[in-house]
């Protein structure tokens, strides 16, 4: 039982990170119907931004409090990746809006390659380790919970609440949902659709940066190709939960995190990805719109 709870905590931590990335996929898909394949690399970029800030802080101001360092890392990483994602949308996706559906998908793959190669050239191909930031652990019987796991879960929960509030209760969120349903009509009512779409990319990137920072803090290492696997997992999470649905993305992320850690704990770790994607196939067969996705009703 203790072992199970331990795996549950580990899974929730991992799932939180997947969920944060998945929101970026799902929001962009919701508003312009496109899969932003560069999103995984935006996550990686966020990790690197946090890494650089961490190294700068610890060299310039030795003994800076961990909480403060983490906060600065988060803010800078969010700003940097937001800027990047905003620019990517501007350069690679906006000119292709109104073109055939596959065109932005292909530029997205291109942007993904550009980003990972850029980091490989600029930061080197090796793994970049950092010393552990938070080392506190709590013991509950046989269960060990690390403080950093608690931090990850709390940060995720807070941000999700904030984003849920923005999307559901503010004028910006209303404009996003209106744009999602009928872009042209939203424009006719005075909504600046291009700006609304840009903000959506910025919001997705900010969450990916948080995920990147958390990932760095949790594993203590960043690499230029870190974006790929978590990106694919988060995309799977978004599809599993029902793409376009915000709670669905989180649910999908948590589910995948849990499956990975429980499968690794009770079966063979080598097959954990098989289990994840097997579940995806299973859900899509019986519920093609994902767990929380609404079927699209086309009116004639």
């Amino acid at each position: 039982m203790d072992y199970f709870i331990q795996q549950l905590v580990n899974g929730l931590t991992l799932g939180s990170i997947y969920g944060l990335i998945a929101i970026g996929y799902t929001m962009v898909y919701g508003i312009i119907g496109m899969i932003n394949f560069a999103h995984g690399d935006i996550f990686m970029l966020g990790g690197f931004a946090a890494l650089i800030v961490f190294l700068l802080l610890t060299t310039l101001f030795a003994g800076v409090p961990v909480a403060l360092a983490l906060l600065v890392m988060l803010i800078v990483a969010m700003l940097m990746t937001s800027l990047w994602n905003w620019a990517i949308e501007r350069v690679a996706y906006r000119p292709l809006r109104g073109s055939f559906r596959l065109a932005p998908l292909i530029t997205a793959i291109g942007m993904s390659i550009v980003l990972s190669n850029f980091i490989q050239v600029a930061q080197g191909p090796r793994n970049k380790p950092i010393p552990p930031m938070i080392t506190d652990v709590y013991h509950f019987g046989e269960v060990t919970i690390q403080l950093k796991q608690i931090v990850i879960i709390i940060v995720t929960a807070v941000l999700l609440t904030l984003f849920w509030y923005i999307v559901n209760k503010t004028p910006l969120g209303r404009a996003q949902r209106a744009t999602e349903q009928d872009r042209k009509m939203a424009a006719l009512l005075g909504v600046d659709v291009d700006r609304t779409i840009s903000i959506t990319f910025v919001m997705g990137a900010a969450l990916a940066a948080v995920a990147g920072t958390m990932y760095l803090m949790y594993y203590g290492v960043a690499a230029f190709n870190d974006g790929f696997i978590p990106g694919v997992k988060a995309f799977t999470a978004a599809v599993l939960g029902g793409i376009g649905s915000l709670p669905g993305a989180v649910l999908g992320g948590l589910l995948i995190g849990l499956i990975e850690s429980l499968w690794s704990a009770y079966f063979t770790i080598a097959y954990k990805d098989v289990a994840t994607f097997g579940l995806l196939a299973f859900v899509l067969i019986f519920k093609p719109t994902g767990i929380l996705g609404r079927p699209e009703v086309e009116k004639v």
């Binding site: 209303r174 949902r177 009928d182 006719l188 659709v193």
Partner: protein, 292 residues
């Protein structure tokens, strides 16, 4: 023909369309079409199916960029806008032109109230400091949000939808959705409201209520431009009727004038070209050639 003389813009003109042409490949959907809509009037654009009425609307509201021609809007404040040069979201925001569609285009997943709030997006967005101040609970935003809800409630009351404010818009019956579209357009605070077949699919009772609503909107100072097939609506409420056939204007004047125009009768009844002259001769002989 007095009706073609649109070279002078009088002070009370709100919309002036000059030499508008719209070509789709080889098809000339609108050909050198000019007309004016007066402030505080209901102007109706009628014509047989395929005459190009909706195309004219699409040009006015920025859906299409016209091949040729000029569309100018004159606001009460004296400001002038050339609509064919504005990006689509500016047409509502700056020029204050709102429109509805022939096929209803509500945000069906949003609630009725939210539909009306989206229409007030710009005011709210500014007041909420582009969301940031709004999240911090700024009093200015709270005040603006309250005002926006009051405006929405006012139009819900007028459109008789107040009981359904929190239902998804897609759940409303057809007639109610049509009224909601008008209410939503009015929430943008337009000076000119363009309605594309507002009475389509309404039963006689709903159609009557619509007439009352449109008249009251006009009397409160918003000018209306409407496309309509239901002649009982057109003749009942319009102050001015423009008739379009094959992309060209064939008649322009008061409802009575248009109703008796032989060209209009010919267009609607589908008379051959040679017969048009006959019909004209016939009508003229009836009026004793005293047509204005």
């Amino acid at each position: 023909m007095a009706s073609v003389d649109t070279s002078m813009t009088s002070k009370d003109t709100i919309l002036k369309v000059e030499h508008l042409s719209m070509r789709f490949g080889g098809l000339m959907a609108i050909n050198d079409f000019s007309f004016e809509a007066k402030r505080g009037e209901i102007t109706a654009l009628i014509g047989p199916n395929g005459a190009g009425k909706t195309t004219v609307f699409n040009c006015i509201t920025g859906f299409y960029k016209p091949t040729m021609g000029m569309i100018s809007l004159h606001q009460k404040s004296g400001k002038e806008y050339l609509l064919e040069r504005l990006p689509d979201f500016m047409i509502t925001r700056e020029a204050k032109v709102a429109r509805t569609f022939q096929n209803i285009r509500l945000f069906s997943g949003l609630t009725v109230l939210e539909n009306l709030l989206v229409a007030q997006h710009n005011k709210l967005m500014k007041a909420s400091g582009y969301t940031i101040l709004g999240l911090l609970g700024s009093p200015l935003y709270k005040r603006e949000a309250k005002k926006a809800i009051e405006t929405a409630a006012h139009w819900l009351e007028r459109a008789d939808l107040i009981d359904r404010a929190d239902d998804p818009a897609g759940d409303l019956p057809y007639g109610a959705q049509r009224r909601l579209e008008i209410a939503r357009a009015m929430c943008t605070g337009p000076e000119l409201l363009c309605l594309d077949e507002p009475a389509a699919g309404l039963n006689p009772k709903e159609s009557l209520a619509l007439n009352t609503l449109l008249r009251s909107i006009r009397d409160e100072g918003t000018s209306l431009l409407l496309i309509e097939h239901d002649m009982s609506v057109v003749m009942e409420i319009s102050d001015h009727v423009v008739v379009l056939e094959y992309g060209q204007k064939i008649s322009d004047g008061t409802p009575d004038h248009v109703k008796n125009d032989p060209k209009v009768i010919a267009a609607y009844l589908g008379v051959d070209d040679e017969e048009v002259t006959e019909v004209i001769a016939e009508v003229e002989s009836l009026d004793g050639g005293a047509k204005a």
